[in-house]
């Protein structure tokens, strides 16, 4: 099949390895391939986002390091790497250092179940979507521990906000995912994508264009922004109120790990939008010539579209007030998504989807 799939185990076996060693090597190679390329794309996507913000603000953006400034992120990385790591004397030393590592690791972990092409997924497990939900709920610990371990007022406020915000939006995300799972009939990520083949009118490969699922696709996009604490929901690092939020006391590589983790999370949420509602690696319409284009190109195109939306929103929408954020989560999204579970399951029962 493609250059990246789980045929790797068999390929290693033909080189004379035992099955266990072949599996181990193949999994390790897959992990390295995903995480290294992810880090590279995070570096490039930070550059792309800065260029986009610059365009929205009629500026030039990074344009000095390398041609058109494409090496800006690497220059920033080098600068941060050469800085001194400052650990505040009043902080809880061990937790202070562990917190950014947690954020970064958790941001990488969820990518294990993301399918890049049909069959090209590191861990093809039955509970793929639940795994993503479980891992994304862990992201809050990096922030909360950082806020507490810094032993400083503003980071602590930020940690409190982050904990409340993530729990609030996970509830509605859970209900939204239930609607998708009801329609797909499986928690497996590959199964969810395959269920979208010819879903609308027999030729559109997307749950999102189904009139019953379109509203929750929009709600999922907004909840994804809140879950990753991106603008307009970046109350955890609101610079006008909390200096820099939970990362106020951080410097050097520990700060950079937060930065990398945040962007890996943003990319993950863009990918989830593409996979759950817009057909993942499938072409937009079910038309044979389009399948000659490799699936990974369709997936990346969808991810870039969602990343553009994320950057667009961050550049143009003003930040929410905290009570407005809570109102949106609990009083708007939660009732609507709960009602939608009822609506979708009722429709599916009525049309005999489960028969």
């Amino acid at each position: 099949m493609s250059w990246f799939d789980l045929g790797m185990t068999e390929r290693f076996q033909t080189w004379g390895m035992s099955y266990e060693w072949a599996w181990f090597t193949a999994t390790l190679a897959g992990i390295l391939m995903i995480s290294l390329l992810l880090m590279l794309s995070v570096a490039m996507i930070i550059y792309a986002e800065r260029k986009l913000w610059a365009a929205f603000a009629l500026r030039r953006g990074p344009n000095v390091v390398g041609p058109w400034g494409v090496l800006q992120s690497f220059a920033d990385g080098l600068k941060v790497f050469l800085q001194e790591t400052i650990i505040p004397s009043a902080s809880n030393r061990g937790l202070f250092l562990i917190a950014p590592i947690i954020t970064f690791t958790v941001a990488l972990m969820a990518w294990a179940v993301i399918p890049f092409n049909s069959g090209a997924v590191l861990a093809d497990i039955n509970v793929g979507l639940l795994y993503v939900l479980a891992i994304s709920s862990l992201g809050v610990y990096g922030v909360v521990i950082a806020g507490w371990a810094s032993n400083s007022k503003y980071p602590f406020f930020s940690a409190m906000r982050a904990a409340a915000q993530m729990i609030s939006y996970e509830v509605s995300i859970g209900f939204i995912l239930i609607c998708v799972v009801l329609w797909a009939g499986t928690f497996n990520m590959l199964g969810i994508i395959e269920a979208q083949k010819g879903h609308v009118l027999g030729f559109v490969n997307a749950f999102g264009l189904n009139p019953l699922l379109f509203p929750i696709a929009v709600m999922f996009l907004i909840s994804a922004m809140a879950e990753t604490a991106r603008a307009p929901f970046d109350l955890t690092e609101a610079e006008s109120e909390l200096v820099a939020g939970y990362q106020t006391e951080y410097s050097s590589m520990s700060f950079a790990l937060y930065w990398l983790g945040e962007y890996a999370n943003v990319l993950l949420m863009c990918t989830l939008n593409a996979v759950l509602f817009w057909g993942g690696y499938l072409p937009p319409v079910d038309w044979a010539p389009l399948y000659y284009v490799p699936g990974i190109i369709w997936l990346f195109a969808k991810i870039w579209i969602f990343f553009f939306i994320f950057a667009w929103v961050k550049a143009t929408v003003p930040r929410y007030r905290y009570d407005q954020l809570m109102r949106l989560g609990w009083k708007v999204f939660l009732p609507i998504s709960l009602f939608w579970v009822f609506l979708v399951s009722g429709y599916l029962m009525y049309t005999g989807h489960f028969a």
Partner: protein, 204 residues
């Protein structure tokens, strides 16, 4: 081989972190050790093939319950000296509890050695190999145990309503944003053009 190795790794870390929950001086550290323990319990669940339970354990306990624990514990201002002052006073009660627990454990293990208890009718067959975990569990929960399942749901609902009723209070004298009334407000409701003669006051 790899199953045995991972079982012992998960089990050893689970026990060690469970012990650290008790031994840690700082309550925040205790909660964090508890999270490590939950994680390793989830790992054990995956090992026995109950991947759904494992994921639920992480989502519910690590993702929600432990965050709330941490939330509360972090905001407490605990005086450790005062905490330890009550140690001698509570020691007899603690010892009594420990003895009861040990006796119960011995009794339980002894009874288990004597043979399993037959509770109710025949237990449903183990998960069929071709069926995912979630499907097998759902088809059992929503058919055979549907009343028990819904009773559990009702109890949780009552607990939730109770918690809200007990803590909710109507506060007077605070400004609350009413977004729909803000959106309904039109310029003609609030802006007035007046042609004001010179030297006279404005009627507001």
């Amino acid at each position: 081989m790899i199953q045995v190795i991972s079982f012992y790794i998960f089990a050893a870390i689970l026990l060690a972190s469970a012990a650290m929950v008790i031994f840690a001086r700082n309550p925040v550290h205790s909660v964090l050790w508890l999270i490590v323990a939950f994680f390793n319990a989830a790992g054990l669940m995956v090992l026995v093939g109950a991947e759904f339970i494992a994921m639920l354990l992480v989502i519910v306990y690590v993702g929600a319950v432990a965050v709330l624990f941490l939330f509360v514990v972090m905001m407490l201002d605990i005086d450790f000296a005062e905490l330890r002052a009550g140690f001698m006073r509570n020691l007899p009660l603690g010892l009594l509890l420990a003895i009861v627990l040990v006796v119960e454990l011995i009794l339980g293990i002894g009874a288990f050695r004597a043979g399993a208890v037959e509770l109710g009718g025949a237990i449903a067959a183990a998960t069929p190999a071709d069926k995912p975990n979630i499907e097998a569990m759902g088809s059992l929960l929503y058919t055979k145990y549907v009343f028990l399942f819904e009773t559990a749901g009702l109890i949780l609902l009552v607990a939730m309503v109770g918690a809200i009723v007990l803590t909710h209070r109507q506060r007077k004298g605070i400004f609350v944003q009413d977004i729909s009334s803000q959106n309904q407000r039109r310029p003609q409701d609030s802006v007035r053009n007046v042609n004001q003669p010179v030297g006279q006051g404005v009627e507001l």
